[in-house]
Symmetry: C2
Subunit: 351 residues, 2 copies
């Protein structure tokens, strides 16, 4: 094919206003923009798989995050791209690479090694056979892995582990590692529908609870009563759920703060995410520790190896929903993510 000189891309139109009811697709505008010419170290790639992550909602918020997208800027995303042209020895036409991409039909990188996160990773021949699986594991799986094992310091001697959004991308992996690898006797998953309750039980949850049930708080109390509380809570939501769990933590219990989904709609600064029960943290010597998976980047190769091994042993199966779309439908991926109806990891596949 001829090297394209321009590309379509989805730019952020405006920060979401938490006070308004807008569809995710309203935040973005499709624009055509020139592509720079290829320099002596450049590569030209075409994103083919985009990761849809809850954290992306914070990137486009006005409150700021570790990655930010401002109005007029192209939307960023982790993903897998195919190399179309390369002036760099390390990459050749047809290679698949993983890294920080954008909602752009084509992209030129002048120095791929200088990209965040530390350079593009070239998929091995084995990994390139199933790039969907690779992408699902690459960020989400590692988030579950380091969150549970390093931040949470979960061990087989824990009695009760609770996971919120257990049918979600990260939660589903946490449940499986907790049950199938660590053999935690009581893995409790929180989710929002009877179908998802069945699903998380099939993943290994001993008890599935529906947070929409009017008896949820009592159900939780009963579920943790036999062990007199929770050793470890893997928190994917923040907000009111975190407060509810704080009432049930064991003395010296550990909380992994991984997501604050419950607070994403409130990023105007009026009401972000509340931990009301600070007093209980003090009384019980509870620990809340945030998880930023990039802090563990030096160990990623090891983490990926362990998870691939668990996959082979049948201890870890991936739960992926693939949204196939032409480039013009890319914002629909975020729409689906925020609607909260999918299970496991959501990927957008550009066809």
């Amino acid at each position: 094919m001829a090297i394209p000189t321009e590309t379509q891309q989805w730019q952020l139109h405006h920060h979401p206003d938490p006070k308004k009811t807008e569809r995710a697709t309203d935040f973005f505008t499709l624009v055509k923009t020139p592509l720079p010419a290829l320099g002596p170290n450049s590569i030209l790639v075409k994103p083919i798989l985009l990761s849809n992550d809850a954290s992306q909602r914070t990137w486009i918020g006005s409150a700021g995050s570790y990655i930010t997208v401002k109005p007029g800027q192209v939307m960023k995303t982790f993903g897998v791209a195919k190399v179309i042209e390369s002036n760099k020895d390390a990459f050749k036409k047809g290679d698949l690479v993983w890294g920080m991409l954008a909602w752009s039909e084509y992209m030129v990188f002048d120095d791929p090694a200088a990209q965040y996160p530390p350079g593009f990773t070239k998929l091995t021949e084995e990994q390139a056979k199933d790039p969907e699986e690779y992408l699902a594991t690459r960020i989400t799986g590692l988030t579950a892995y380091y969150g549970l094992l390093n931040v949470g310091e979960a061990t087989s001697s824990d009695q009760t582990v609770v996971v919120s959004t257990a049918a979600g991308a990260t939660g589903a992996v946490v449940v499986q590692i907790a049950k199938n690898v660590l053999k935690i006797p009581r893995v409790i998953g929180i989710t929002g529908s009877p179908e998802k309750m069945d699903l998380i039980k099939s993943l290994g949850c001993d008890i599935a609870l529906n947070y929409k049930s009017p008896t949820f708080e009592d159900d939780l109390a009963a579920a943790v009563a036999p062990t007199k509380g929770i050793d470890l809570y893997f928190d994917n939501v923040g907000g009111a759920m975190l407060d509810i769990m704080l009432k049930r933590m064991k003395s010296k219990g550990r909380i992994v703060a991984c997501g604050a989904l419950g607070s994403y709609e409130n990023d105007n600064g009026d009401a972000v995410a509340y931990v009301k029960e600070l007093r209980r943290i003090i009384m019980s010597g509870v620990r809340i520790q945030g998880l930023n998976v990039s802090h563990y980047a030096a160990d990623y190769a090891n983490g990926m190896k362990n998870m691939e091994q668990w996959g082979k042993e049948g201890k870890l199966r991936s739960l992926t929903t693939i949204y196939e779309t032409s480039f013009s439908g890319v914002p629909g991926g975020m729409e689906r993510l925020l609607a909260g109806k999918n299970t496991g990891k959501l990927l957008t596949k550009i066809v």
Copy 2:
């Protein structure tokens, strides 16, 4: 003296109502109540020194705490008492003991060894020479010690440590251990008046900040700029201050949640203590860990020994305010504590 058959005591009249402006003395009523006769293992004691601790405000609140006092019950307190009569070999008339006492003129314990915390501790001859110093160190000093060293895992390689209510009982000890023992290069103390700023500088703070200053947040930003943030924040207040600090924590910074003074007035459940900046905890991998000093009870003898040694080496001086009163003025101690005007440890001495 003849063995008394009744005693005066201060009972809680009602839980404080955060919506009302009441004096601490309004919460208590002086009543006369019979004393049980001494059994074969009983001791009769007379409390002589009462510890005035911020945490006692939570004990009398309606929200509950690790220790609770309900209306109609006698007010509890840590303190030092003198043994008046003893049927127990381990205690003899005139001994001084430390333990959980009450605002009661006399008290009979049927089995002193069964008391919380684990039995009364008899002061050594050396300790009995200065019971005020012993009481000041016993709980408050140990709180500072285990909070900074065990929960906070402070080491000499930390660059910046921030301490709130640095002129308070716990804060003053934290500042001195951080500066004089660990030699932290930048110890920043937060307090509320120019006099207290001078005081905490004399204790070892490199920088003293007044939280009442209109430029406080900017002053803090400037104070932590040279080290690009805070390694460890020793939090004695909770509330809004905790949120302000979360914006300044280094990646993987540690917060010791020791007190929630800022939230004590809100224990009706409407507004307890807020951590709004949950998102920052996640982004920066920050850890918040509660401190309940009783979790370290097995190590107290060692902690006391270290602090006594630091005292002899001039690294740790105690900062004690003694409120002398007859028994009828005991609630005035809490009044003084909540007014926040004293510095260091406040003790009530019954004369």
